[in-house]
Every structure is written in structure tokens, then in C-alpha cells.
């Protein structure tokens, strides 16, 4: 009994920490609709800055608490700079485009933190006055954890006062509910956004700084917290502070008690919770449905017509190059091109649901990975030849796409995207944990092509043929009645229903088709690499797919192709050129975001249209 009470208290302490980070994220999202991927980096910077301040200030209460608060304010200022220099310029870009920018910031911060603070984990001092422990029911419990349990509700209370008792807070709440109306009433939105970003970043920094007496400060803090923070925000309901608090509590306690019953549940628990909550409550625990976008009816995306002649010629030339050049390249060049072809299809499949479908996915790697595992499992357990494996890949991915999609496409916006992430993580953890069948994180080895396709060049042509074919097929689908229906339900679900389009079914089938196409890419990737690992369906791979689509431009059909080529090419080159490739890649992404807010292909189209308009 005593043990259970203490377990509950441990859960509360974790919940409190989690809430601090999530509260900043939810405030920022509520007002600016920015999916701030860099929030974890701000948290990490908070911890590092607090370490520097606390260890260099004189010991004692003033040094410690001054250092913690100082770090929080500094991080707030860093957030402010990021907002003013970067995000403010791209609020008008398509939805989720800001995610690309904040991902660039993540990469930059990772290398800068390594350069500044070194590779070794840092251990901060304990909090003065809260070093030891106290006895609760005869068992020891750390004082600092008790203090943390108190911090969460206090911060929640202060935020509540700020949002309900000040004019600024009222404006923020108004903007969270309806930002256009607030703008129409003459409120200076720029100031509002900037100040909200400052507050959100400060909370992230505070969350990081308060971990100092509890955990070591290390370079992995950013990515380990960001997904959990997102889960808390989404489970609670986007933009809802009390929802975030409730969700943090739920997850903290479930975790504390979950490991008593199933010790290995740690990998997947938060995602299971999120999946269940979102299936039952599509807008999180305390979230409200997004106000119907007023602009929605008028601002339908431009219709995508057939490609102009110049683009057709360019595409034909590129295809000819892709066929004619490889025989003159070395094996390595061919394998890079093979990978590019695969990623073009992977990006194009995501684009089908993101662009024409209007549904973002944060978990598209699941279908890539399921395709790869489908092929590899067939090869390992059934002794299937390569072509059979490649045929199984899209079937496996497509079936799971339909199953997962059945739940995901009922939701909208970020909720839907986060549910895809939850399913992807569940699939990932099955691959990771079911060691007897999947080999766990050691993966499945020896998935090499059949003898006839073993030469790199032959395999390249096979991959090129399949990927190009599938990509063109997806393009064809977009121009077919099905594609028009897909776009119709995106632009106005009401009107689409009114003319007899079953929006759910269209979205669902679109999701399944995209999953199957990603499965083809995954199967080809498996045989190209010779092995399959859970990383194939990990979050980083899903993020890569998003980056490719966003980089190329969501609103063009050639966007994902250009984006995949640019992203893979950049990364491949940079890794070989410099140890600081993350810093350089991050800067390049930020620059691209600033100069081409419509994506690369979007910018090209805009220029093309402008030149024709002038003529």
C-alpha cells in the first residue's frame, strides 16, 4: 500500500515536469497554429543554460534559483529571436510549413549545443534546501520531487490568472478561438504572436532548467521530450491548458503504474494512450473542434491542371538522364540514385494524402516500414523470392493503411496527424519488441535481391521502373475523378457531401492507396539495403518524408519529387563533406524556408506563372 502511494507521487512529479513543457507548446500552438518542433530544443537549451549559470554563480539559494529563472528568461529571448527572424515571415505559408523551419532550428541547436557544452553528459548541482528526502508512510521520498509536484499546479494557476485576469491574456484566448476576428478588431497580431512565443519558450526553458537537480543534461534531451510533449498537448486538446495538465497527469500516473505490471510497456504506453483517447474523443480530452475556417469556402487551393509543356519536356529529359547516365556511374552513384528513386515514391505517396487529400501524416514511415518488413518477413519465414516479396510489400502496407486509416481519416488537422504518429509508433514498438519474429532492434538481415537483380545497375532499373511507374500512377489518380473527389472533400467537405461524395470513403481509400505506394518504396528499400530495422518506421523517417514534401511544396504535383531529390541529395553530400552536417543542413533548410515559402517547386511555378503573366 505504502509503495503504491509513493508510486503515485513519483507519477505526479513526472506529470508536473511534463506539464511545464507541454504548457508552452500548447500556448504557442493555440495562438499561432505553429507545430513547433524546436520546442524540445528550447527545453534542452534551458537545461544547458541553467547548468552554466548555476555552476558559475555563487552557491546558495540566490545562485541556484537565480540561475534557473535566468535560464528560463534567456530561452524565452531565444524563442523571441526565432519568432521574429524566422517564423514571423512564414505565417502565411501553407499549413505545417513552419514545421520545416522549426526542424531546421532543431538541427542547428543540436550542433551548437555539442560545440558549446561538449559531448559529455553534465550533472548539475542539487537544489539548495531540497537535497535530501523526507519520510512518507515510512518510505523515503525526495524533497525536490515534492517541490516539483507543487510547481505544476502553481504554474497552471499563474497561467490561468494571466489568461483570465489581464487584457493580454484575454486577447490571447480570443486569438486562440478565432484569430481572424481578433485581427479584424484591430489587435496588433505581431506583438501578440511574438509575446506568446516568448512565454511559450520561457516555459520550455523553465521546464528544462528545473530538471537540473533531477537529471543529467545531455544532447538527447530535445528529441526525447518533444514527442511526449506533443502527445500531452494533443491528448489534452490543442490549445487547452487545463487539458494539457489533465493529460500530463494521466500519462505520468499510467506510466508509474504501468511499469509495475508490464515493465516493457515504456516504449509504447504514451502512444497507446493517445490512440485510445483520439479514437474516443477526436479533439482530445478538453479540446474544442476548430472553428470552421471562414476563409475555407473562398480559399480553395488552385486546381492542378495538366503539366505545362515546358515541365513535361523537363520531366522527360530528367527521366532520360535517369535511364541513360547510371551505366557510366560507379556502384556507389547507382546506389544513391536507387535510394533517390525510392524516396521520390515515398514522398509522392505522402503527398497524395497531404496535398490533394488535405490530411497531414506524422507517421507515414509506418507504411514504408511495413512494406519493408512484409518483404523481409516473407523472405525469412517463407523463403519467398524477391519478386514475391516486392509484391507482398504493398499488400501488407495497404492492409495496415486501411486499418489505421479507418480511424485516422475521421479526425482532422493535427489530431489526425498525431493519430497516424500513434499508430506508427505502435507498429514500430511491435517490430522492436517482438524479437522472435522480427529480430527486435537487431533487425532482419540477409534480405538481398535474387541473383538476376543482384548487380547494382539491374536493381537500379528495377527500382526506377517501379518507383517511376507508381509515382506516375499516383499522378494519374490525382487527375482522375477519384482525385477530384479527394480535392473536393479537402476544400469543402460540406459541399462535397452535398453532391454525393462520400468524403470518409474517399479519404479512407486515398489513405490506403498512399500506404500501399509507400509499401512499394519500403520493399524496394529493404532489398536495396539487404536488411530491415525498426528505424525504417521510426519518427525520424516520418519526419524525413514530411520534410521532403514540404521542401518541394505541398501544392504542386512535382513538389514531392523535387523535395525528395533535394533533401536526399543535400544530406548525402553534406554527411560526406563535413562533421557539422547538421548545422549546415539546418541553415540550408532555414534559408530555403525563408526564400521559398511555397517550397522549391512552388517557387518555380510562381516564377513561371509570373513570367507568363508579364508576357
Amino acid at each position: 500500500m505504502e509503495n503504491l502511494v509513493l508510486q503515485a507521487l513519483s507519477g505526479l512529479a513526472s506529470a508536473s515536469s511534463l506539464f511545464l513543457v507541454a504548457s508552452g507548446l500548447t500556448v504557442i500552438f493555440g495562438v499561432s497554429r505553429v507545430v513547433n518542433f524546436a520546442h524540445g530544443s528550447l527545453y534542452m537549451l534551458g537545461a544547458y543554460l541553467a547548468w552554466t549559470l548555476v555552476t558559475s554563480l555563487p552557491r546558495g539559494h540566490l545562485g541556484f534559483w537565480g540561475g534557473v529563472l535566468g535560464a528560463a528568461v534567456l530561452v524565452g529571448l531565444i524563442g523571441l529571436v526565432v519568432e521574429v527572424l524566422l517564423l514571423r515571415r512564414i505565417y502565411r505559408a501553407p499549413e505545417l510549413f513552419q514545421l520545416l523551419a522549426t526542424f531546421g532550428v532543431v538541427l542547428i541547436v543540436q550542433d551548437l549545443a555539442l560545440l558549446t557544452w561538449g559531448a559529455q553528459d553534465l550533472l548539475g548541482p542539487r537544489a539548495p534546501g531540497l537535497r535530501g528526502s523526507t519520510e512518507i508512510l515510512g518510505l523515503r521520498f525526495p524533497l525536490y520531487e515534492l517541490f516539483l509536484i507543487g510547481v505544476g499546479p502553481v504554474v497552471l494557476g499563474l497561467l490561468w490568472l494571466l489568461f483570465h485576469r489581464t487584457r493580454w491574456g484575454t486577447l490571447v484566448r480570443a486569438a486562440t478561438q478565432d484569430r481572424e476576428m481578433v485581427g479584424a478588431l484591430g489587435v496588433n497580431q505581431r506583438m501578440l504572436f511574438t509575446s506568446v512565443f516568448f512565454l511559450g519558450s520561457l516555459l520550455a526553458g523553465l521546464g528544462g532548467a528545473l530538471q537540473l537537480p533531477r537529471e543529467s543534461v545531455n544532447l538527447h534531451m530535445d528529441l526525447s521530450i518533444i514527442t511526449e510533449a506533443f502527445v500531452v498537448v494533443v491528448v489534452g486538446g490543442l490549445g487547452s491548458l487545463s487539458g494539457a495538465a489533465l493529460a500530463a497527469l494521466l500519462i505520468g500516473e499510467l506510466h508509474a503504474f504501468g511499469i509495475l505490471i508490464v515493465p516493457k510497456i515504456t516504449l509504447v504506453l504514451v502512444f497507446l494512450v493517445m490512440a485510445i483517447v483520439l479514437v474516443v474523443r477526436p479533439h482530445g480530452l478538453l479540446g474544442k473542434p476548430e472553428a470552421a475556417a471562414r476563409g475555407g469556402q473562398g480559399s480553395a487551393e488552385p486546381l492542378v491542371g495538366p503539366a505545362p509543356a515546358a515541365l513535361r519536356w523537363a520531366a522527360l529529359a530528367a527521366a532520360l538522364l535517369a535511364v541513360a547516365v547510371p551505366p557510366f556511374l560507379g556502384d556507389y552513384g547507382i546506389s544513391v540514385l536507387t535510394e533517390m528513386a525510392i524516396f521520390v515514391l515515398f514522398a509522392a505517396s505522402l503527398h497524395l494524402i497531404m496535398g490533394p487529400g488535405g490530411m497531414a501524416s506524422f507517421g507515414h514511415a509506418a507504411y514504408f516500414g511495413l512494406g519493408a518488413y512484409g518483404a523481409a518477413l516473407a523472405a525469412q519465414w517463407l523463403g519467398a523470392p524477391m519478386l514475391a516479396g516486392l509484391a507482398i510489400a504493398p499488400v501488407m502496407a495497404g492492409i495496415f493503411g486501411l486499418v489505421f486509416g479507418f480511424f485516422c481519416v475521421r479526425l482532422s488537422g493535427v489530431y489526425s496527424a498525431m493519430l497516424t504518429l500513434a499508430f506508427a509508433q505502435i507498429a514500430w514498438s511491435v517490430a522492436f519488441q517482438w524479437v522472435e519474429v522480427t529480430g527486435g532492434d537487431n533487425g532482419i538481415l540477409g534480405v538481398w535481391p535474387d541473383a538476376w537483380a543482384a548487380p547494382k545497375l539491374v536493381y537500379y532499373y528495377l527500382a526506377l521502373g517501379l518507383c517511376l511507374g507508381a509515382t506516375l500512377l499516383l499522378r494519374r489518380v490525382i487527375h482522375a475523378p477519384f482525385g477530384y473527389a479527394l480535392r473536393a472533400q479537402r476544400d469543402s467537405s460540406l459541399r462535397a457531401e452535398a453532391i454525393g461524395i462520400d468524403a470518409f470513403r474517399i479519404r479512407w481509400l486515398g489513405f490506403g492507396l498512399a500506404a500501399a505506394a509507400a509499401g512499394v518504396a519500403g520493399g524496394l528499400f529493404a532489398y536495396g539495403k539487404g536488411s530491415v530495422f525498426p528505424t525504417y518506421m521510426g519518427i525520424p523517417r516520418s519526419v524525413d518524408a514530411l520534410l521532403m514534401v514540404l521542401l518541394g511544396g505541398v501544392q504542386t504535383l512535382s513538389g514531392p519529387i523535387v523535395g525528395a531529390l533535394a533533401f536526399t541529395g543535400l544530406q548525402e553530400q553534406l554527411v560526406r563533406l563535413t562533421d557539422l552536417w547538421r548545422l549546415v543542413l539546418g541553415c540550408v533548410i532555414v534559408a530555403l524556408v525563408l526564400f521559398f515559402p511555397q517550397g522549391l517547386a512552388g517557387a518555380a511555378r510562381a516564377r513561371w506563372e509570373a513570367s507568363r503573366g508579364d508576357a
Binding site: S133, P142, D441, L445, K529, V575, R576, D579
Partner: protein
């Protein structure tokens, strides 16, 4: 092709011998920066001493960012574009396995430096893959020897939830139960790697009231586990047996909060004054103005093993290299080491001792060098573990 090969060999005869090295530099910098520093040092020393029969060695480093699929691509680049004579490196087990499989498929020698997984030389072992570092099995066996001497009968385990943690716990349980049939395992915790919820994990272990704990967590997880565990009194009146905790990479960040009297494997760099180790330590400090970590030993010895191989092998083609690698003996900074012909595992050992606090820092005391050759299963067992060609 057969005719062309010797001609290329002659054309390159004056140039350096190239080694391709792949590791997760951006993902695991704490271990790999000292590793790479020592690698550079070793290469400079080999070249200053006249290289390999007059030819210097040269290394092309690549960062796989912790992704096995990228490691495979880079391996292809090193072999095909950079024309390296052999591959080396690997930190994460799955990256090591992917590279091992690549080596097998492309018939290229791969000298794995760090990956600990047993599968690399046993279940997934192949002709072209060799491993330097003492494996999970070997290090677990070293600790079981000590654990069996303890009076404790009720054991709990805590390990990161991935292959390394799972295997370590499995071997520890199996070997300890064999040595001491009277022990029982009363609790196990498997926190996600890098994301331990230390308070809840410590509390869950304490609730089972074990007499001793086997710990496999390392890095940030270890730090958080130790902090919560000490504050909550988990380690009082309980013995802890802990893998890798004596390595400076993981012990030093703990500072004056390093746990005392844990039985650990590790590397007491400041106390090893052997003719092989002292010059290495001095040279490393002089070159990098820092003390060596265990990663440094692994990096340095990988180069020395490769240098010994290149001197022994009659030719730089893969098959003669592989033949020379089987049974290769060289003088590592820890002592003489042999790459066993039977399973391609080196006999490099580890230091086993207990932790103490010295001058406000963690250190190892009462340590001894456990030679790896004494902690491997009998040959007939190894043959059942490894696919026989």
C-alpha cells in the same frame, strides 16, 4: 578482372592504405569523440614508425547518425568510391550487424570495434566480420563470477529496453542461476533507452525488496537512476552489480554522486601502470590534453589491430586479409589479444572492480583485468551458437 587487380595494386603501391571507418559520431559523441581522437593518435604513431612496409595508412571517416540503413549506404560509398581496403567501426549493435551483413554480401573485411551484441560473431557471424570489444556475454560472465560470491539470493534487474539490455539480463540470469541455483529474480525493469522515468523505476524496484540489483543502464539513464536511487535509499544495504559503470564515459559525469561499492566492469585509466598502457596514456594526454576514456582504448586498439593485420597479410585483397585476421595476435594497451579463428571474437578483456569515491570523483578500486579468453563458452558450445560454413 583477375588480370586487372594486380596492376591496380602496383599503381597504388606508393600511396597510402585506406581504411573506411563508419560510426554514429553525431548520435553518440560522448563515447566517440575520445574514440576518434585515439584513432587519430594511433594512425599518426603507425605512420611515424614507417607505416606498413613503407606505406602510410589513411582513414576515411563517415557518420551514420545512428541509422543502420545510412551505414550500409556509406559502406558502399567507402568501398566503391573511396576504394578502401577494409571497413571498421560501429557503435550501435544494429549498425554493427548491418555492416557485418554488408561485408558478407560484398566480400569485404569488416573489423567491428565497439558493437557489443553477441549476434555479431555468433548467431549472425560470418567469414568477413571480426569484433574487438568484449561482448555482452563476456562482460556479463565476468560480473556473474563476482555476483555468485555474494550472499544475496533475491535479485532484481534494470536494463534499457533494447537488444543489449535484454541480452545482458538474459545471460546474467542464465549464468547466475547455473552458478547459484538458490537465487531468484524478483523484479525486472526495462526503461526505454534514454528516457528512463527514474523515480518510478526506482520505486518499483524498491517495492520488490531485492537483496541485490543487476544494472545495465548507462549514460543519461544511469545518471538519473543513480540520483533517484541514492535519494530514495534504494542502494542502502543492497549490493549492486553493474555493467560498464566503471567506464569513465559513464562514471565521470556522476561526479561526487558516483555510487560507492558497486561491482562494475570498467576502465581505471589512472591506475593501470603497465608497460603497454602507460605510454598510451601519456601519448594520449600529450596529444589531446585530456585523459583517455574507454572509447579511446577501443579506437586506439582497433587501429593497432588493423596495423598488425596489414603487416601480417601477404596482400591487400580481402581474402588474404580475412585469412590473416583469423587468429591474428597483437599487443593491445590492455594486454595481448587474439582474434579467435573459431568465432572471430577478440580476447580483449575488461577490468572488474568496485567503485569508490576518491577526491570527490568516482573511481575503481580492487580491480583486476579479466582476460576475455577466460570468459567465452567452450569451443563446442561456440560451434552450436555460430552458423558453421
Amino acid at each position: 578482372m583477375a588480370l586487372a587487380a594486380p596492376r591496380i595494386g602496383n599503381a597504388q603501391a606508393a600511396g597510402p592504405i585506406r581504411i573506411g571507418e563508419i560510426n554514429s559520431y553525431t548520435a553518440q559523441p560522448a563515447f566517440l569523440q575520445p574514440y576518434r581522437n585515439a584513432w587519430t593518435l594511433a594512425q599518426e604513431q603507425v605512420n611515424a614508425a614507417g607505416g606498413i612496409n613503407g606505406r602510410p595508412i589513411e582513414t576515411v571517416f563517415r557518420d551514420d547518425a545512428g541509422r543502420p540503413e545510412d551505414a550500409v549506404r556509406l559502406a558502399g560509398e567507402l568501398v566503391n568510391a573511396e576504394k578502401v581496403s577494409l571497413l571498421a567501426g560501429g557503435f550501435l549493435s544494429n549498425v554493427g550487424l548491418a555492416l557485418g551483413d554488408f561485408a558478407n554480401q560484398n566480400k569485404k573485411l569488416f573489423v567491428a570495434s565497439e558493437p557489443l551484441t553477441d549476434a555479431l560473431v555468433w548467431a549472425r557471424g560470418n567469414r568477413y566480420t571480426f569484433r574487438l570489444r568484449a561482448s555482452t556475454y563476456m562482460q556479463s560472465a565476468m560480473l556473474v563470477e563476482e555476483a555468485a560470491k555474494l550472499p544475496a539470493k533475491r535479485w532484481a534487474t534494470v536494463a534499457p529496453n533494447y537488444e543489449y539490455g535484454q541480452s545482458a539480463v538474459r545471460w546474467f540470469k542464465e549464468l547466475l542461476t547455473k552458478a547459484r541455483p538458490d537465487v531468484s529474480f524478483v523484479a525486472e525493469q526495462f526503461p526505454a533507452l534514454g528516457r528512463i522515468d527514474a523515480g518510478a523505476t526506482v520505486q518499483a524496484l524498491a517495492a520488490a525488496n531485492p537483496e541485490a540489483i543487476f544494472n545495465v543502464t548507462f549514460g543519461a539513464d544511469l545518471t538519473n537512476f543513480v540520483r533517484q536511487g541514492s535519494t530514495r535509499g534504494l542502494f542502502e544495504r543492497r549490493r549492486v552489480v553493474s555493467l560498464l559503470t566503471g567506464e569513465p564515459e559513464y562514471l565521470d559525469p556522476l561526479g561526487d554522486e558516483a555510487p560507492e561499492d558497486w561491482i562494475v566492469t570498467g576502465y581505471p585509466w589512472d591506475q593501470i601502470d603497465t608497460p603497454a598502457h602507460t605510454p598510451f596514456r601519456d601519448a594520449y594526454r600529450k596529444r589531446w590534453n585530456d585523459y583517455p576514456r574507454l572509447g579511446s582504448v577501443v579506437g586506439y586498439d582497433t587501429v593497432m589491430a588493423i596495423a598488425a593485420l596489414l603487416k601480417k597479410a601477404p596482400a591487400l585483397e580481402t581474402e588474404p586479409l580475412v585469412d590473416a585476421m583469423a587468429g591474428l595476435q597483437f599487443q593491445s594497451v590492455l594486454g595481448p589479444v587474439e582474434f579467435r579463428a573459431i568465432d572471430h571474437q577478440s580476447t580483449m578483456g575488461a577490468f572488474v572492480g568496485r567503485t569508490v569515491l576518491k577526491n570527490g570523483k568516482g573511481a575503481m578500486a580492487d580491480w583486476r583485468y579479466a582476460d576475455g579468453k577466460d570468459y567465452l563458452p567452450a569451443d563446442e558450445v561456440v560451434r552450436t551458437l555460430r552458423p558453421q560454413a
